[in-house]
């Protein structure tokens, strides 16, 4: 039994500075880490988009080579979806969920840190492909067989496969964590129908993640086996079936779309009632439609494959299901508008501007989505710039707009300072106008026959004007984002003190001090209604400490918090090395596996809390 004698280092107690951030398992710090990392990656994805638009500014441009161009659009798509929007959502999950449900932390704080570090490992791995022999170049959905070794002998696709697997581990770990947290760690009295809408959407998103990610994991494993070990899954010469890749990818890919948009809808459902001073109209309906969207998201995947030749019957069925999924989405929009109706709408707050912008742009994106649902007319739109316009209206106009609004809304809770509203308005209008200038003309160029993913075109096709406007718009949008960065930095340094509750908000996270203390709630509250804090402020329904919650104490020093740990990051490093080793040689993999095992071993045996605390 010598193994048990192995020393497990003590948990780092109160380190400061960088070590504090590396070992932290505080959900708020992890949330900030997620947010900052995702935003930096969002900027890199934006730069990739900028280069794409430069190349397409005019016909016959020679700004980048076709090989680089193919890598650019693949990396842009993969980055924005897996490294920007998903983790930005995760940043909000991390920061807000324990606050919204009245908990001290998530259910598994170390697993949470592990999610972040594994996400970072996957991000580093994907982005490092630029410097290690070329980025992936087959589009973000990597249709086999162009990803097979025969057509793509470089390492780009290997990086893509392996980093997506690593990111999958991170997303799954986070999703497990949030499901358990939301189900189990709610404050007393917070029934499911008293949960804030954002928490509800997080729960649905997490369930979607848990069920969708294994499917792409299998698809990626199969592709990896094809590439590394010469198997035949997607190799048509040996009877393999490329259509299977598309099915597996989109069975994951369509729920993934809702994974991206539901958190945004959740944020908007928090912001609009606050700035209208009215409760969310039809709270149960909004939640139920979220559940319906999550459920029906599994029945529509083949609308990405209308031109694959699945037959008239299959196409008709998926056309109908796709149209039907527009209904719960529309219901949500109606409910948001009804929330504002007869309210007192504070149009001067950037967060609210973003939310209204979100509704407007999401209407456009939703309607072009309904257009695609008609399989017959989609045959003209599939794989053209019309689709590019649609995806950007829902993901930029939808997800990103809401997430930026969310940053304006929750910045005071995180830093204790208000973001500058004048800069905020410039930021919003530039982004909004730039976004429309960039993506609206794409509807026209698409209907004019411009396929997506082409690196060049000739003047005779008549696409010059639309492309020029798009390229022009992207610079305006870029300027808007730049001002956002400025605003964050400026407000962090010089922003006005916000106080606990700058917006007269409704949910309990605003009842505690800003910036949030490490232990969140001094006393775990007892919840009586949906908008508990609002009820407290207006009707005097007290947010009293839950009786019998043993952790409650008058003295904050007695609040027990889980302590920092080195091991989540160690395990993540192990996973990253193991993945790199698949490309650069077995020894690195073995080293990574050993490091990972040491990490897991130490993780499982380190004490929950330092004994001297008692």
């Amino acid at each position: 039994m010598t193994t048990f004698a192995l020393p497990i280092p003590k948990r780092p107690t109160h380190p400061t500075g960088i070590l504090n951030w590396i070992t932290t398992i505080d959900h708020k710090k992890i949330g900030v880490l997620y947010g900052v990392t995702a935003f930096i990656l969002f900027l890199t994805g934006g730069i990739e988009a900028l280069l794409i638009r430069m190349q397409l500014a005019a016909p016959g441009m020679d700004f980048v080579s076709p090989e680089i161009y193919n890598q650019l659009f693949t990396m842009h798509g993969t980055t924005m979806i897996f490294l920007a929007i998903m983790p930005m959502g995760a940043a909000f999950f991390n920061y807000l969920i324990p606050l919204q449900i009245g908990a001290r932390d998530v259910a598994f704080p170390r697993l949470n840190a592990f999610s972040y570090w594994t996400f970072l490992a996957g991000a580093i791995m994907l982005k490092s492909s630029w410097f290690l022999g070329g980025a992936p170049n087959a589009g973000w959905f990597g249709y086999a067989p162009i990803t097979e070794i025969a057509y793509n002998p470089g390492h780009g696709i290997d990086f893509w496969i392996l980093s997506l697997q690593v990111l999958g581990i991170a997303s799954l770990a986070a999703a497990f964590n949030f499901i358990v947290t939301i189900i189990n760690l709610r404050a007393p009295g917070m029934t499911l129908m008293r949960l804030p809408v954002f928490t509800w959407m997080t729960l649905i998103t997490s369930i979607l993640l848990v069920l969708a990610f294994p499917v792409i994991t299998v698809a990626l494993i199969e592709l990896m086996f094809d590439r590394f070990y010469g198997m035949n899954f997607f190799n048509p010469v040996r009877g393999g079936n490329p259509v299977l890749w598309q099915h597996l990818f989109w069975v994951f890919g369509h729920p993934e779309v809702y994974i991206l948009i539901l958190p945004a809808m959740g944020l908007v459902s928090e912001i609009i009632p606050t700035f209208s001073k009215k409760p969310l109209f039809g709270y149960p309906v909004v939640i139920f439609s979220g559940i319906v969207i999550g459920f029906m998201g599994w029945m529509v995947w083949s609308h990405h494959m209308f031109t694959v030749g699945l037959g008239a019957v299959a196409n008709s069925i998926f056309a109908i299901t796709t149209m039907l999924i527009a209904v719960p989405t529309g219901v949500k929009i109606f409910n948001w508008i009804a929330t504002m109706w007869k309210g007192s709408i504070d149009f001067n707050k950037t967060a609210m501007l973003y939310s209204i912008g979100f509704i407007f742009l999401f209407i456009i994106g939703g309607l072009s989505g309904v257009m695609h649902s008609s399989a017959a007319s989609d045959a003209q739109q599939q794989d053209t710039y019309f689709i590019v316009a649609h995806i950007h209206y829902v993901l930029f106009g939808g997800a990103i707009m809401a997430l930026l609004g969310g940053v304006y809304f929750y910045f005071p809770k995180i830093t204790g300072k208000l973001m500058d509203e004048s800069l905020g308005k410039i930021n919003f209008w530039l982004t909004f106008i730039g976004m429309n200038l960039t993506f609206f003309p794409m509807h026209f160029s698409g209907m004019d026959g411009m396929p997506r993913r082409i690196y060049t075109y000739t003047s005779e096709m008549g696409w010059d004007l639309w492309n020029l406007i798009s390229t022009f718009g992207v610079f305006i949008m870029g300027a808007g984002i730049l001002i956002f960065v400025l605003n964050i930095v400026y407000s962090y340094l010089r922003g006005k003190e916000s106080g606990n509750d700058p917006w007269d908000a409704r949910t309990i996270e605003w009842a505690i001090p800003s910036p949030t203390p490490e232990y969140n709630f001094k006393k775990i509250p007892l919840i009586h209604s949906v908008d508990a804090f609002w009820e407290f402020k207006r009707n005097g329904t007290p947010i009293e400490p839950a009786s019998g919650a043993s952790e409650n104490s008058e003295d904050e020093k007695n609040i027990h918090l889980p302590q920092p740990s080195y091991w989540p990051m160690v395990v993540s490093i192990g996973i990253m090395l193991a993945a790199y080793g698949m490309i650069f040689g077995l020894p690195i993999s073995i080293l990574g596996t050993i490091i990972g095992f040491i990490g897991v071993y130490a993780w499982s045996l380190e004490p929950v809390n330092e004994p001297e605390q008692h």
């Binding site: 076709p66 193919n70 249709y143 067989p145 057509y151 048509p236 490329p242 209208s276 001073k277 009215k278 409760p279 109209f281 039809g282 709270y283 031109t307 694959v308 030749g309 037959g311 196409n315 008709s316 056309a319 109908i320 149209m323 209904v327 529309g330 219901v331 409910n335 508008i337 109706w341 007869k342 309210g343 007192s344 709408i345 149009f347 001067n348 209204i356 209407i363 309607l367 309904v370 257009m371 008609s374 399989a375 017959a376 007319s377 989609d378 045959a379 003209q380 599939q382 794989d383 026209f444 209907m447 004019d448 026959g449 396929p451 997506r452 993913r453 060049t456 096709m461 008549g462 696409w463």
Partner: protein
């Protein structure tokens, strides 16, 4: 005038509304006039026509919904904007009747677009005419060019292979079988029909018909690698006589020219050093039977070369043969051809001229 009043009263104060109206009118006006070479608004066949009609139908519904919702949204935001002295508004939690209403109304709108959608899906999938009156073309997509195979009118067992230019008789149903041997491509002639993918291992079928003579541009619509953007083709719809004449011309073996430079070119083409023959077929030649590149039997009769990228002129042909990458970066001819990969075997100027002369005689 009433309109002016409305404009002055409401629109001038709301640049936002103006902006939206502008976009809507822009979309409708521009969409009606676009006659660009690949415009889906300028249709010349029943398939594309039905898809366009369906599109307009849905667009009308979408514009209706969009306008209605935007007006409601803007009105709400404007009407209920916060004014000084606002009291706390009434805390309304919902309204069941409204919820039911706005669940049912979208369903009705969707039903209106679903019915024609399904009819059109079936119409466009099932060919209306598979009799001998129709024409069948087998389309093979390759990285990065197109091959079209026709039944030989004189010989039932043979197929006539042409590349990158597909001739069809006007007013007839063309049944198309789609094959791919490498990666996924997509066959798309916007003015004639929406796209259908060419899946390796699963062949697809589609049909189209051109109602007017003319040249219709098409392009690969599924990302297929480096030269995806330069994988174009043309569909040439012509009268039945012209089509029959073209087909019988194409069915012939290659012309043997007596011009000395062309003969020299033929020799180079079939030489071990150049090795052109190992990829290209020229029917009638004893040696040139390669299958990986496009069929060149009648290349002189085509209007464009390099998968519809440049016009078929002497200069372009010379440029193409000398350095294919300069016209189509990534082309497999430059990647695999020994005259391009092996510096010792590089073609000299006179050799290129001779090859051009030979290929241009292949009318």
């Amino acid at each position: 005038m009433n309109c002016k009043k409305i404009f002055n009263k409401f629109l001038s104060k709301n640049p936002f509304v103006l902006f939206i109206l502008l976009i809507v009118s822009l979309f409708t006006s521009i969409s009606c006039v676009s006659t660009n070479p690949q415009s889906t608004f300028d249709t010349y066949g029943p398939v594309a026509q039905s898809q366009l009609v369906l599109f307009y139908w849905i667009l009308a519904a979408a514009i209706f919904v969009f306008t209605a919702m935007t007006i409601i949204l803007i009105y709400t935001v404007y009407k209920f904007r916060r004014k000084s002295g606002d009291l706390i508004p009434e805390q309304i939690h919902g309204n069941t009747k409204l919820e039911i209403a706005w669940t049912i109304v979208p369903c009705i709108i969707l039903a209106i677009i679903a019915v024609p959608t399904i009819f059109t899906i079936f119409d466009n999938t099932n060919s209306p005419d598979t009799s001998s009156n129709s024409v069948t073309v087998d389309v093979y997509a390759h990285q990065w060019f197109w091959e079209f195979k026709y039944d030989d009118p004189n010989n039932e067992t043979e197929k006539i292979t042409v590349a990158n230019e597909m001739h069809i008789p006007v007013g007839k149903v063309i049944n198309i079988n789609l094959y791919s041997d490498d990666v996924i491509h997509s066959f798309w002639v916007p003015k004639l029909a929406g796209k259908v993918d060419l899946m390796p291992g699963n062949n697809n079928k589609m049909w189209l018909q051109a109602d007017k003579e003319g040249e219709y541009l098409g392009q690969c619509a599924e990302f297929c690698g480096v030269a995806h953007a330069l994988m174009k083709f043309r569909v040439i719809a012509e009268s039945q006589e012209n089509y029959d004449k073209w087909l019988s011309d194409q069915s012939k073996e290659a012309i043997v020219s007596i011009e000395p430079q062309a003969l020299e070119g033929k020799e180079i083409f079939e030489s071990r050093e150049a090795g052109c023959w190992s990829c290209h077929t020229i029917r009638g030649s004893a040696r040139s039977k390669g299958k990986t590149g496009p069929d060149l039997t009648h290349i002189g009769s085509r209007s464009h070369i390099a998968a519809g990228v440049v016009e078929n002129t002497q200069q372009n042909m010379a440029k193409w043969i000398e350095n294919p990458n300069s016209i189509k970066p990534g082309t497999l001819m430059a990647t695999n051809g020994q005259v391009y990969t092996d510096p010792d075997k590089k073609l000299t100027g006179p050799e290129v001229s001779a090859l051009v002369a030979y290929l241009r005689t292949l009318k």
